[in-house]
Structure formats: C-alpha cells, structure tokens
Symmetry: C2
Subunit: 135 residues, 2 copies
C-alpha cells in the first residue's frame, strides 16, 4: 500500500507568519488572506463564485510529523490525547482543513475570509462545502 | 515550494469495490465500513469515542490526477466545470473528505457509518468535526 506525492496547486498569502500568534481556527479571528494558484490548474477554478463556502486543504509544512499525542490546543492543563481526536497541525500527514468564504476571485488569485494558515503554506486542494452535511 | 510524501496511516475495509456503483457521498447510502489503522499510529487514536463525528481523509488511489474539468456528478447533461468547485475524485491531489460517525473502536479497527470510500483505499488522516463550524 502506498499513498502519493502531493503537488502544490497554489500557496497562501497571509499576514500570519508566526504559528504561536496565529488563531487555532479560522473563525477565531483570522485576517483576510489570498490563495494564489499555479497557472497549470487555472481550468480547475471555473465555477468558483464570490460568496461560496469552500474547504481549502493545505500542507502544513511547519508541522511535526513524528507526533502522535498532544495537549489539546497546546494547553498543558488539558489531558494529553491522540492527534486524531484533535486539530493539532502536528500529525503524521499534516494536512490542514480550512473552511473559508470567497471574497473575490481575480484570475489565479482567490481572496478569502477565515483562513488561519500561515503565509507561504502550500495549498493542495479546494472543494465546495456540501450543504446537506455541513462538510 | 514543495509538498510532502503521504504516509498511509490505515486502510478502508468496505463492501464497496466498484467506483461506478459507489454512492457519490456518504449520506447517500454508504454501507458501514472499517478503517484499519497501522500499529505505528495506535497512540494517535486515544480520545476517539463511539458516537463521535469525524472527518476521514483518504487518498483516492483510483482517481485520475490529470483532470481539471468535469461534468458534476458525472452527468453529461450538467455543464462542465472546474474540479475545485466539485467533489469529483478526479483532481490534481485526489484527497477524499468523508464525514463519518464512529460506531465502534476495537484496538486498531474503527467501525464507521457513512463512509463512501472504496475497499482498500488508503487513509491519510482523521480529524474531529468542529461543532462551531460544521466542518
């Protein structure tokens, strides 16, 4: 069994540069940010509209991959638990899942609200939220 | 800029073996299925409980990575659009996002409802749903 090599489809441009200062989740006060796509995937953007709710998947390139247990939200007062029951960025495959709202799309540049990823984080996929399940 | 190599943390065991016959989304009638984890990540499972709502991320190893435009839901009557505004498995990084409910956890075996992934699909991450955003 093998899983594949990820190809970045774009990159996050954000004022957030410091993991310690970044909000834990986008709805906790992330600034507006941009996703700048690779020109090779331009055709994949057709259909994205202002106001859409999207899931942006990122590769959390500053996370640790050798961590299996964490204190939730980095709080040492909370009982340590397995990473798969937390949203810790540190995990075997550090994929970030970000629910965002589209503010604008200009060519390859997508402006979004509620993206808590750090500046220069690679983007690996974008999907629509499905209304029937809130995902 | 580079993104990483994915490490499978487990695998889907499901009666679904045929992409054409599988439901498009888990809430459209997926059978109960199992995620069988690698023993190396056992510590990461601590904290998962029966009844939890989780997001399972998979690597859709039978998808095409060279597709940027599709007919939504494979329906030729629907206007072709970019893959990033659809849930098509065919996309540059074929990552599946599945909202599931935990039926049981026995050691490394997690029984879940509403997982539409095909049998033998690699699992790459598991995260809790966050109640405040439905993600």
């Amino acid at each position: 069994m093998a899983a594949g090599e990820l190809i970045p489809i774009g990159v996050v441009h954000s004022p957030l540069t410091d993991r310690a200062a970044a909000p834990k989740q986008g709805h906790e006060g992330a600034p507006d940010a941009w996703v700048v796509f690779e020109s090779a995937v331009a055709d994949g953007l057709d259909g994205i509209r202002e106001g859409d709710e999207l899931i942006v998947l990122t590769w959390l390139d500053r996370a640790r991959r050798d961590v299996l247990r964490v204190h939730p939200r980095g709080d040492p007062a909370k009982r340590e638990q397995g990473v798969f029951s937390t949203r810790s960025p540190d995990r075997p495959n550090p994929i970030g899942l970000h629910r965002v709202r589209v503010l604008a799309l200009h060519g390859l540049r997508l402006k979004v609200a509620d993206l808590e990823a750090l500046d220069s984080t690679p983007v690996i996929d974008v999907k629509p939220v499905i209304a029937t399940d809130g995902r």
